[in-house]
């Protein structure tokens, strides 16, 4: 039956989804608590940032120091700067669950003995974990809104900007999950898949940081190869992500999801 794997995956993971959502909501809420209430306060943060080496700034996505002195930039840096690295943990765990975990512990056999085409298992699980990623993003949105209610006098954004901002974490999260799922169908073993996916994600992050520090064309090109670059930390809260970059990431994700299905359909399932 269509949708049963999707439903079952959601049924089994709603608790985890809740924990992740609450955690991310807290991280979205926290910067509002920390936000200075005077221009001088903001200036202090700018001064601190100026004192940091460029590499460190890039690691937190601070390519535009002046922006940290504005409320939107401040929240951007203290949330979007690192949130994808945290969500990478969710993405890798979810991506492994698509096929590698079941194949590794042997439950794939009994699952495949049911009247389920292999593609349905892969696709419905990918959809399920994308839905959960959406739920997590909505929790982040709730965190923003609660935070904004805390300091109404210091920041003035329409609510839908927060929504757009929260949704900006989705393309990266889903992309990382699908890449992991793809690697999982390729290598079959969960530990190997986790290590490879982790290396890919961390490698992309480093590429993005180096690309930001150095001003050579080569470095800029390298940055283009990193999926982290889709998220502009400074502007994410107000503007979300550009249609082009979201679309590009979506297309690459779909290609890899298709690749995962094809790989898994064709090969022997290990015991």
């Amino acid at each position: 039956m269509r949708g049963t794997v999707l439903y079952e995956t959601l049924r089994r993971s709603w608790k985890h989804a809740l924990y992740w959502g609450l955690g991310i909501a807290l991280l979205a809420f926290y910067p509002f608590l920390m936000m200075p209430n005077t221009p001088e306060g903001f200036q202090q943060y700018v001064e601190i940032a100026k004192g940091l080496p460029e590499g460190v700034l890039e690691m937190f996505g601070m390519s535009d120091i002046a922006a940290i002195g504005t409320p939107v930039g401040f929240i951007g840096y203290s949330f979007f700067g690192y949130i994808l690295l945290i969500l990478a943990v969710y993405s890798v765990i979810a991506g492994l669950n698509v096929s590698a975990v079941d194949e590794d512990n042997g439950s794939m056999d009994i699952l495949l003995s049911l009247p389920l085409p292999r593609w349905q298992i892969i696709i419905e699980k990918i959809i399920a974990y994308s839905v959960i990623a959406l739920v997590i993003a909505l929790f982040a949105f709730a965190g923003f809104i609660l935070g904004a209610m805390l300091v109404p006098d210091r920041i003035d954004l329409e609510w839908h900007k927060y929504l757009i901002g929260a949704l900006a974490i989705l393309p990266g999260t889903i992309f990382m999950m699908i890449i992991t799922a793809f690697i999982g169908t390729l290598v079959r073993r969960r530990v190997t898949a986790a290590v490879l996916a982790g290396a890919f994600i961390f490698g992309s992050y480093v590429l993005n940081v180096i690309g930001g520090i150095s001003n050579t064309n080569f470095a800029e090109t390298m940055k283009g190869f990193s999926f982290f670059a889709y998220l502009n930390t400074t502007t994410a809260l107000e503007q979300g992500v550009t249609i082009e970059s979201a679309l590009a990431l979506a297309i690459i994700s779909i290609i890899f999801a298709g690749g995962a299905v094809i790989l898994f359909e064709r090969r022997d399932v290990s015991v």
Partner: protein, 324 residues
């Protein structure tokens, strides 16, 4: 003419194709399982039983040859076929944090409906608690949930990989009854085992596999009708005529202990009786070979057992002479 439920043609599986050490686990298997029978698929460890079963279920793909179930190709029509199959893997691995009842419900949803009353009935028959988490079951109980999952949707064909391993004698009886009830509905069972004794009671036919090759397919009746017997003679004094007995056509494996002598005999008894009475006989017992012995004989002690066509097992040249 009965319907063929499982049909394989030159089914072959080589693992590690393209690597330095390719290994052919199954070669050229031609097998037919017909509707309404329970067929045992026997062979020692590593014979290729699980390999065959996993190909039938389309988990792994044949290197050459093909297989059909219900007259349909197992790969092309796997979803249709799986609707009508109950499968028990050799090693049942389920999601450890889920309860049995949740897994039952999941499988029902996937199959688009189910018969909860029947599940409850099975659980009762097997004395099984559906409400525990998988991680909390003993090995035997895990077999039971496996059986429930295989039977719950009233399939037409059961494919069971070593269903009897790990069952205590009582559960073995319950299992046998389940299988016979299943067969009584005109349905088919294909089950593997490496212990013939565990399945001899329920199987109509057995296929014997060895080193990836099908050695024989035989009815259990014929297999048990092998014409050799174990004879034990007890005399009133130490055995003196051992050499005379050994010289009889068809006698082998002779062993003397004090006043008695035990040996195998193939063929007629008359030559034996003439010699046996040269000493005073206190007692004589004749034993049909156990299925284990037949099984062993098929493989041979050192893997050099020879097999005649009509189910007769021949181990020595002398036996061959005796029956030919």
């Amino acid at each position: 003419m009965s319907n063929t439920i499982i049909h394989t043609e030159a089914l072959t599986k080589t693992y590690g194709v393209g690597t330095k050490k390719p290994f052919t686990a199954l070669s050229n298997l031609n097998l037919n399982v017909v509707e309404g029978e329970i067929m045992g698929f026997l062979g020692p460890n590593g014979a290729g039983k699980t390999t065959t079963i996993r190909m039938l279920l389309d988990f792994i793909r044949p290197t050459s040859g093909h297989a059909q179930i219900f007259g349909k190709d197992v790969h092309e029509h796997s979803v249709d076929i799986h609707r009508r199959i109950g499968y028990l893997p050799a090693e049942l691995n389920l999601w450890k944090n889920e309860t049995s009842i949740n897994i039952v419900r999941y499988f029902m949803r996937v199959r688009g409906g189910g018969d909860m009353a029947y599940v409850k009935q099975l659980a009762e028959q097997l004395e099984f608690d559906l409400n525990k988490r998988i991680r909390d079951y003993s090995t035997g109980n895990k077999r039971k949930i496996g059986l429930i999952l295989a039977l719950m949707h009233h399939p037409d064909l059961l494919i069971l990989d070593e269903p009897t391993s790990g069952l205590d004698p009582l559960m073995q009886q319950v299992f046998n009854q389940l299988m016979l009830d299943f067969k009584a509905q005109g349905k088919t069972v294909f089950l593997s085992s490496h212990v013939l004794g565990e399945v001899q009671e329920i199987c109509d036919r057995v296929a014997i596999l060895r080193h990836g090759k099908l050695e024989t397919v035989e009815t259990v009746k014929n297999l048990t009708h092998v014409d050799f017997r174990w004879v034990t003679l007890t005399y009133n004094e130490p055995v003196r005529i051992a050499d005379d007995l050994r010289a009889i056509r068809g006698v082998s494996d002779l062993k003397v202990t004090d006043n008695s002598v035990k040996f195998r005999i193939t063929g007629d008894f008359h030559p034996l009786l003439e010699v046996a009475t040269r000493q005073y006989v206190v007692n004589m017992t004749i034993q049909a070979p156990s299925l284990e012995e037949i099984f062993l004989a098929f493989y041979g002690e050192n893997g050099n057992g020879k097999i005649a066509h009509n189910g007769k097992v021949i181990q020595s040249e002398r036996e061959l002479e005796a029956i030919s």
